[in-house]
Structures are given as structure tokens and as C-alpha cells.
Symmetry: C2
Subunit: 476 residues, 2 copies
């Protein structure tokens, strides 16, 4: 729908190109740098997030280059031909370390680290953030829907109200987070997802009567038929017509799969329709429900005992409502071997310096207990400090710790991701099963503990103090 953007060179904010040019001009393009990606706030008021998008990002970094057409645009935008010659042969050469797709993650934890030349790392800032922020947002929303739905079916139906071509990444991330299928054919094709769908009101309207529409659809689609009941009136028209057609199909030795509710009080209607189906001798028919669903509505429907077999979730998962964006940032942590940070008047916004690892600790039952952010060179600490509340600390057993950041090599030099959506979805299931339920509940989830190692805390304080003492005592 949108015009193509490959080969990705221009998937950037203008200031990244301006800075890249500055570094190149100053002879600092290859100065060694380390950048971290992390977010500050869990989405949806929840107790966890699911990291997603990494394989898509790795592929984009591997394919990152500038086409002649893009270079001509940069020339019109004022960039000189010597710099464009540099970009013409530019390939992304930095090393990627990241948490694998589907890992459960928390605020302040680096979920991706790039180590490479200052210029190449700066140039991909927006590509990194745009990919990981959005897919992590949607995978988190999808995982919450899965928490609510238990083992009922979940299908993503959101492309029509998704944010343009972002809807394809949304369908992918929904399946990472726990959806079984998507209505989105382009995403199913591109990412190997299961495609699903039923029928539209227009099909019913386009026929002389609803019964005739059901009859035709069932004749064409046989055992996979799901009849949409609410074009005219779910209980007075849709259900009796569906029962009649289901009986005809059965008589003909075929069958249908189920019916779909798409408006009205879904809890009431599902119960009435279930009763109608059962009493007519069709206990095997499934009930699909859709219409403005999200994790809260699914939870409420199931608490009310609504006999729904499959939920179709649209807008809420496809755009990650209500948040619609994850606040992930990309910050310089080390330059030319020196750890560095960004100060802020808000102490919570001071960044964590240096090359870091995240270690996850378990409790006596093997469940996730806490995470430590520490320097990459040190072993997992036996005590962590609260990132912002001075003096608050707790001890941990390092023998239970596992590192979360893994190396993904240098995607620009042929290192390609191997893992598909199914593997990532399996990881989400497995990791969330180890996260205690108090962090997974929707209302006031218990805050999962993320602390700093003493060495990282000391480094941050030292660097912050040094920057502060270089400031004059008062404003001019």
C-alpha cells in the first residue's frame, strides 16, 4: 500500500543522516561505539512486556543499503557527492546482541545492543526503534489476550483499521504473542502465519435472503463453513436459518464448522446460540465471536460463562490500543572505549553507561524472581540495588542466573536469523509460564524487580557526578 522503502537506507530520520555526515566529515565514522535499546514504561498498565521484531530487524540490517534513487534524493536534499560515494558502498557492519524474540522483558533492560562504528550505529537508530517498539507493543497485547483466552482460539482480524502497512508487522507480532491465526493474507504469506476468515455481511446482503446466502456459502465451503448470524437479527433470523442449513448439510452427508456473532451482547447471545445449537442436535458446531474485543472483554466474557470457542480480535491488537506505542529509546552507552551517559534533571531518565548484560534469577520453585542489569564483563551479582531509590537492595542466588542477551553476529556480513514466528511464540508460552501470576494479572500487577549490580551503580554515579561538576553552579 505504501510505496516501497527497501533497501532501507532512508528508513531514518533526517538527523541521523546529518549526524552520519558530520561523523564522516570529522573522520569519526569508525570510532567504536555501543548503543542500547530499552524502554521505560510497561505498556497497558501491565506487569510484563514481550520483546518482538528481532528477526525482521536482523533481516533489514543485513539488507541495509542505499539505492541510486535514494542517493539522488539525498543529493537534492543537499548532501555532497563525496559523502554519497561513501553511502553508495555502505554496508551495516556492527555486531548485534539482543534478547531473543519472545523473551519476557522489563523497563530499563537493554533488549538490544549494537557495537560498531559510530556512524553505522547512528544511522540505524530509527530502523531499530521503529521495528522493536511496535512489534513488542503488539506481541505484549497479544500475550495479554492469550492470558485471558486460555486455550480458546484467537484470531487477529485487524488489518482494516491497522496503521497502513504497519498492519502486516502487527499480524506477525500478534502470532508471536499467542494468536493462532490472522485474517491478513499478505502477512500470512510473508511470515508463514495461519490465515483464517469467515464471511461478510455483504455476502448475506448480496443474496435474495439470508437463508439463501447461508445455503450457497455452505454448498461452496462445506465443512469449513462458519455462518455470520447478525446481518439482520442474530436470534430471530441468523440462528434459525443457520440451523436449517446445518440440517440440510448434515442430510447431504456434509457438515459445517460453526457460527459467528459480530454484534450485540456477546455473553447473552453466545449462551442463547449455544442452547439453540445443542437443542437442535448440533453440539459440535463452534461459536466464533468478534466485535471490539480485547483482553479485558475476553476475560469478562469467560467469567460470565459465555460458551465461545474462538475470539476474533481486531483493532485492539492490531494497533496495540490504548497505548498505540512503546516508549523505547536508543542511547549511546560507550564511545571509543569510554562508558558514557546522558544526564537528566529527572533522575529516572539518567541512562545506564557501559556495555551491559541482563541476568535473570529464579526462586526455589524455579519461577522468575528478579533481573539484574550488570556490566557485561562481571559475573551475575549476588545483590542488586534499586535503580533509583537509594540504598534499597536485595540479595540473589547467582547460581540460578541466566544471561538474557545473546550474540546475533554481524547481520551485514551474512549472519541471518534462523528462527520463525512459531519458535518465538513457543518461547513466549514457556517464559510466561515461569513468570509468577501476580506479574501477569491485569489489575495492579505486582512490580517485577529489576536492579543494578554494585559495579554498574557505582559507574553511573561516578559519571553523573563528573558531568555535574562540570556544570556551573547556577544558571546564567
Amino acid at each position: 500500500m505504501e510505496r516501497h522503502e527497501a533497501p532501507y537506507g532512508l528508513h531514518a530520520d533526517r538527523y541521523e543522516l546529518a549526524m552520519a555526515w558530520s561523523y564522516w566529515k570529522d573522520g569519526r565514522a569508525d570510532e567504536p561505539a555501543v548503543f542500547d535499546t530499552f524502554f521505560r514504561k510497561l505498556p497497558f498498565g501491565g506487569g510484563f512486556a514481550v520483546a518482538a521484531g528481532l528477526p525482521v530487524l536482523l533481516e533489514a540490517l543485513a539488507d541495509f543499503r542505499f539505492s541510486e534513487d535514494q542517493l539522488a534524493f539525498l543529493e537534492r536534499d543537499g548532501f555532497g557527492s563525496d559523502f554519497l560515494d561513501y553511502l553508495r558502498t555502505f554496508r551495516f557492519g556492527a555486531e548485534v546482541e539482543a534478547v531473543p524474540e519472545g523473551e519476557v522483558v522489563f523497563p530499563l533492560e537493554p533488549i538490544l545492543r549494537l557495537s560498531g562504528g559510530l556512524l553505522e550505529c547512528q544511522l540505524v537508530e530509527t530502523l531499530v526503534l521503529n521495528t522493536l517498539n511496535f512489534q513488542s507493543l503488539v506481541a505484549t497485547k497479544a500475550a495479554r489476550c492469550r492470558e485471558a483466552a486460555g486455550d480458546r482460539g484467537l484470531s487477529e482480524f485487524g488489518l482494516r483499521r491497522a496503521q497502513g502497512a504497519g498492519g502486516h508487522a502487527a499480524s506477525r507480532a500478534a502470532c508471536v504473542g499467542g494468536f493462532d491465526s490472522t485474517s491478513n493474507m499478505a502477512a500470512a504469506h510473508a511470515y508463514g502465519l495461519r490465515a483464517a476468515g469467515t464471511m461478510a455481511h455483504s455476502f448475506v446482503q448480496s443474496c435474495d435472503s439470508e437463508r439463501e446466502a447461508f445455503r450457497r456459502f455452505a454448498a461452496l465451503h462445506g465443512a469449513s463453513t462458519v455462518l455470520l448470524l447478525d446481518t439482520y437479527d442474530t436470534l430471530r433470523s441468523g440462528l434459525p436459518n443457520a440451523l436449517e442449513v446445518a440440517a440440510e448439510q448434515r442430510e447431504a452427508g456434509a457438515g459445517i464448522l460453526g457460527v459467528r456473532l459480530d454484534s450485540g451482547d456477546l455473553a447473552y447471545l453466545a449462551k442463547e446460540v449455544r442452547k439453540g445449537l445443542d437443542e437442535a442436535g448440533f453440539p459440535e458446531l463452534k461459536i466464533v465471536a468478534s466485535n471490539q474485543l480485547d483482553e479485558q472483554v475476553i476475560q469478562s466474557l469467560l467469567l460470565q460463562g459465555a460458551p465461545i470457542d474462538l475470539f476474533g480480535v481486531g483493532t485492539a491488537v492490531a494497533v496495540g490500543r490504548p497505548d498505540a506505542a512503546l516508549d523505547g529509546v536508543y542511547k549511546l552507552a560507550e564511545i571509543d572505549g569510554r562508558p558514557c551517559l546522558k544526564l537528566s534533571e529527572n533522575v529516572e531518565k539518567i541512562t545506564l553507561p557501559g556495555r551491559k548484560q541482563v541476568s535473570r534469577y529464579r526462586d526455589g520453585d524455579g519461577r522468575f524472581l528478579a533481573d539484574a542489569i550488570h556490566l557485561a564483563g562481571e559475573p551475575p551479582p549476588d545483590r542488586i540495588w534499586h535503580p533509583h531509590e537509594a540504598g534499597k537492595n536485595r540479595s540473589l542466588d547467582p547460581s540460578t542466573a541466566e544471561p538474557l542477551l545473546r550474540s546475533y553476529g554481524r547481520p551485514g556480513q551474512g549472519s541471518r536469523p534462523e528462527e520463525g514466528v512459531e519458535e518465538a511464540a513457543a518461547r513466549v508460552r514457556e517464559r510466561l509460564a515461569d513468570l509468577p501470576p501476580e506479574h501477569r494479572r491485569f489489575e495492579n500487577p505486582h512490580v517485577y524487580k529489576v536492579g543494578l549490580s554494585p559495579a554498574l551503580l557505582a559507574l553511573r554515579e561516578e559519571l553523573a557526578d563528573r558531568e555535574r561538576t562540570e556544570l556551573p553552579a547556577t544558571a546564567p
Copy 2:
């Protein structure tokens, strides 16, 4: 970033392909059909919406086809080879009528109508909705930011937190709605937008000191330099360093453009920085402000007298927060020459039957007064009826009426859009200037009147009554 989707054949929900197959199998592919696109609720609690995305949609419809790769996917998904042969040569042949991009529109009004074969119209449902819903959402948000910003500069900075590749459509729609520029290079390239940007915290951090960083950046970027003040401390460090470098540049016969605030209390800081710049003899330097801005914050900053020259707006406009989606739908209005509708227990959700036009009326001062939705064959009515409240009506002067829906021909047969973003942006300015301010305010905007012609109202009642009388008296 996402894998490519052109040539658009699969930019569809699975049920559209299932229905297309059904129509083809039943010999109804070419049955004449009319589909409308409209929305039910204005976004952002506002009093108007801006239609956007039409040129992008027309281009996609013109290019709509199925690649061999996509056909192979459909074969794996179960579609038979005879149907795939049909799709192999499929071209979109329907006629498009629509309001031009940048028109101010209201709930229930058809903003696009497709007239063509049942199959082709059904197949593009999701492509139509995905394109128009999202771009209209963002253009509306952008127009609200422009309302708040008056003649100050507005630049869109949201790609890093946008919804994947949807960020490119967002940058385009932001410029339709009233933004001057975008940071998004890919969108600037694809859609001919103005690209803009300053510098990042990482540039400052990567140098030995902030002053050294400013000096290097100014030496490289000269008169277009905008210095980012808040890496360490806006007033104690950023401002004095910027003043020093501005003075050096002036001495060297050059100059800089301005400074940027990106955190803290923007109203307070802007005033202090303005004072500092003026007192040091730099009244010409501009102040750029960014950080979680939206139309409400911009309005508040200007009400406080903040001397900000340019606002950088990111996430709020790029994802259309807080709504994140427009609720546009696509409904069958006529089949084989017969007007039709979709009933609903909720009377507000009963659709409007038949081929329709929207006419806009003006008051004595030439400002927009009300819109009539009427049958395409009838002249603008001299009286409109409330769509849902029985009996409520008002008279209008048809001599002031202008039709909103125009023909855009058959994009599949070579009819291509001529209009760019600048023309659409000019239309937004012109049309909003004619919309009375009580519909443009943010708090409790006055509801703009949209009514039905007597003939359309009578047709809806007649068809709804007919469908209702076909229902049994009670539920089974």
C-alpha cells in the same frame, strides 16, 4: 522494514478471497454492486475529520494484481487452480467516486464509493479501509495540531515510535493535515515532503564536551545549525555553550539557526532561553521544542506565552493518539440495481441504502452550515432529516449547496491521481477556514449537522421495514 506486499493482491483479509471465490464459483463475479466507505465517530472527541489517503489508494488500485508467488501461496492455502487462473489476469475495473483528499468530513457521509463487479469490489475492502482509515486519522490529528500552532512551524518526528512501515503513511498524512515537514526520509522521498531534523544527544555525548560538540556541529552545518540544549542541563550548560558557539560563528561571519529544547518544563525553559538569547544579542535565533507534544500541549504552551518558533511532534501524530484508529466501515449499498442495507438492533448502525451524494450548504456568511446525504439521482434537498431522531429536521437553501463526491474514474484502466500532498494540504487549510470555529475547538465542539434527504430517509425506512417483516415475531 516489513517485507514487500506489492502487487497488493494479498493486501486483503482471507474472507475477501473466500467470498471472491464464492462469487466466481456462483457466476456472480460481475454482478453490479455499489459499496460505500464511511465512519461513525469523529476521532479525538473533535468536531471534524479530514479525509486523506485517496491518491495512495488510487495508485494501489491501479497496481492491484496477483504475483505468481502470491498465487502459489493461495494454492497452498487451498484455492483451486481454475480460480487462480482467474486471479492471474485479474485487474481492478470498478469506478471510484470519492471526496478529494483534504476535504473536511463528518460521520455517516460516504467518503468513497466503488461501483463495479461484486467480486472486484469485495476483494479490495481491506485495502480501501486500511488506507483511508489510517491516513484520515493522522491527517485529522495533524489538522488539530495546526489549529493549535497557528503560524508556528510544525514538524513530524514520530517514525521511531510509529507502527512499523505505517510510519511512512503517517508522515505523509501529517503533511496533508498541516505539518510543514517530517524527519522521515523515506516518506519525504516517496511523497515529496520536506525533510527536517536537528541533532541527537548521542552527538553531544560522543564528543569530549558539550561545547566541543556544538562547535563541531556548527562548523559542519553552518547557518542551518540547531543546537540541542538538554544533554546535560538546558540552562546551566546547554544555553551558555550555545551562546558561546553562536558568538564564535558570528565572529567567523557565519551564523546558526537556533536551539532545541527536548525535556523539562518547555514553557519555563523557552522563556528563559529566549531571554538569554535576546540579552546576548541573538534575537534572530529560533527556538524549537519537542517532547511528548500534541495539540493540547501546544495550545497550553502558547496560552502561557512560550516563545517557541517550531514544534516537533512525534508519537501523538504518528500513531494518532489516543484513538489510534478510525472506525471506518465498507458496506454494500446496492446489488444488481437494488438498493440494500444492513439491519442492526442498534438503529444508529442501520446502513444507508443506494447510490448517494453528499451536498454541503453554506450560511449567509459563506461558512459551512450543514451537509445533506441524498440519493445521487436527486438534486440537493431543501430540507434534511436527522439520521436517527425521528421528526427532527431543518430547512436549507439548495442554491448554496456543492457536491462533495467526485468521480476519479477507473484506476485499473489507467486513470491515475494527479494531485500531490501540497494540493491536499491547501484544501485542508481552505476548507477548515470555512468551518465555523465552534466545530474546530477541542473542548465539547458543537456538532456539525448532517442530515438525510426525505427520499433517502423513506428508502431506508422502506427497506428496513421489509427486512424486519421477514423476521419471525419472536426468537425461537
